[in-house]
Amino acid sequence: MTDANMPRTARTTRTIRCDYLARVEGEGALYVRIRDGCLQDVKLKIFEPPRFFEALLRGRRHLEAPDITARICGICPVAYQMSACHAIENALGITVGGPLRELRRLLYCGEWIESHVLHVFMLHAPDFLGYESAIHMARDHGDLVQMGLRLKKIGNDIGALLGGREIHPINVRVGGFYRVPERRELQRLVEDLTWACDAAEKAARWVATLPFPDFEQDYEYVALRHPAEYPFNEGRLVSSGALDIAVSEYEQCFVEEHVAHSNALHSAMRGRGAYFVGPLARYSLNFARLTARAQHVARACGLGETCWNPFQSIIVRCIETLYACEEALRIIASYERPERPFVDAPAFPGRGFGCTEAPRGILYHRYQLADDGTITDARIVPPTAQNQKTIENDLRGLVPRYLDLSDSELQWRCEQAIRNYDPCISCATHFLRLDVDRGGAAAVP
């Protein structure tokens, strides 16, 4: 990194603008201001139009929360359905256990596989190899892209079978499911999932050979931790600092701020500031709960029990994909069809909290219910909103090291660093535009 530290353009000013950050979900922009070779300001701007979900949930019935909140995000609808169900169930005082709980984990495995593989092969890997898209990459790496597409499809097949369809599944309800599958229906997934484990391992070993910048930051990782499982739906919220709280204490420890440049609220840990959610945080806080094979492959890919380089999140996504495939096989092997597809969820007044691990990190929901189950208040904190400050911090750390790059190369490097987080701006409200202002008159704030 020696020559990268030498600002080639000291005392000159340049403005770089990228009107649309591609290969992210939603609409955002990045603004970078450089004066005389010094980085002055970084803003991740989210101009995805707000959709006011928390407001439009008021007056809706408690059983509608999973179907309505799924529409916040077409990439991770299952995460919204899971957090909504858990929060409503918490308010009603019911718990869902046994095979129904296992089926929820299985559905989440499907979403993790689909979402991670989409990001690894179609959104992120092309950055490391200098391709504009996976379709461009497929011209030189056809077999790998084909493998990724098949792997992604297997994740979607789980969603289609268990959820009815991949995007906005129809089969999830407060208390469980509308219909639970027969053993033999799930058995049909076994052959593909067995192939998928090997494909996920191959993907991990391949992405581990990509060129990674030597870049680590002092992050505070936050994720769920469960005594026995790699976390999906349940656990305590823990951090690489001293945090260890119940989900119901979330709002005492985390605050949201509204800043002028973003339609997504910025999250911060009270008294501590930026924090980091998502695959790197989960992995680093839960390594011991991965399967033996996932741990072995992670080590073979050069990862330790924790990983602090956000660019290597692409490897961790592959490790989590491998885990999800193995976990899906475990659930299917031990599945006994429950007699009833759901636990009754009669209306009951109260307040409930839920937090589950969306592919991009923790997703918090809180609902207040009236006597007849009507939702009177709702609060939703998506993972990308929580990572916004950390993304800006990464860019502050990264840009000074790459000032010698041309404008277009610097822009691409910044985009890649943003894509490390697989930002889902649809969730955070929602397209990225990059302005690098090196002090020219055309600067757009």
Partner: protein, 263 residues
């Protein structure tokens, strides 16, 4: 006319969840074949590479909710030979059109601490309210099979084969038991356009209207049926007011029930 070049496709996003454009990336088995047959010229969610217009086919996802987007859709129209709006947001305003029944300033204040930072229109409206649209593809989300059918139809100068009959037709064809008759489960299937493959009834739940109203939907008759099952006018209003709340037939049905409730 012989085509000397691959047709150019553009995908545009307005206010939405990204799910409908993701449907294109979810065509895993067909994606590389599609990319071979057409030039994916502008699809930011999938590629950094953008080729300028005009485009042979634009797929437009999302509803219009900001003054900027109300301008931008006109530019998209000018650049597009055919414009197809995809999904409940683009064809009916989406779930975010629930604001149309309230004062959006209250909504902003409920969600955001500094409402003055938010630039939003009072109503969420479908694409066809702003520019001429060549075809509206329904669904929340759209069906992948219908998306491929519509894209293929427009690029081959033929009419898309997308049925406008009800979910009931799909249910019968599938041999699914009628949940409304057999288990007295309230179901919007009789007034909802087909396209999902009668998913909900196949999973033992009532249809909740993702594909919006069918052609000539008889909502009055369905209302009576639901009320005979014990549903209240309030239940029906909520059922019509979801992802296609501002599709005319659902909007009018809910407004009628609302008026009865509050004479």
């Amino acid at each position: 006319m012989a085509r000397l070049r691959k047709p150019k496709l553009a995908v545009w996003k307005f206010s939405s969840c990204d799910g409908c454009q993701l449907s294109l990336l979810d065509c895993e088995s067909e994606l590389l074949a599609v990319a071979g047959a057409i030039d994916i010229a502008n699809f930011p969610e999938a590629s950094r590479a953008v080729t300028g217009g005009p485009y042979d086919l634009s797929l437009v996802e999302g509803s219009i909710t900001t003054p900027h987007d109300a301008e931008r859709i006109h530019r998209v129209r000018r650049l597009s030979r055919f414009l197809v709006s995809i999904g409940a947001c683009a064809t009916a305003g989406g779930i975010q059109a629930l604001r149309n029944f309230k004062d959006v300033r209250d909504f902003t204040a409920m969600v955001y601490a500094r409402p003055e930072y938010i630039d939003t229109l009072a109503r969420s409206t479908p694409i066809a309210d702003h520019v001429p649209v060549d075809f509206e593809l329904r669904g929340c989300p759209i069906s992948k099979a219908q998306l491929l059918e519509v894209a293929s139809a427009f690029l081959n100068s033929r009419r898309p084969n997308v049925p406008t009959y009800s979910v009931c037709m799909e249910c019968k064809r599938k041999g699914a038991t009628c949940v409304l008759v057999a288990s007295t489960t309230p179901c919007l299937g009789p007034v909802t356009q087909a396209g999902c493959g009668a998913l909900c009834p196949s999973y033992h739940r009532g249809c909740y209207g993702c594909f919006g109203p069918m052609e000539n939907a008889n909502t009055d008759s369905l209302n009576q049926r639901w009320q005979a099952l014990g549903a209240s006018a309030a239940d029906l209003v909520l059922a019509y007011r979801t992802f296609n709340a501002c599709a005319p037939a659902f909007r009018d049905a809910a407004a009628g029930l609302d008026a009865e409730r509050r004479p």
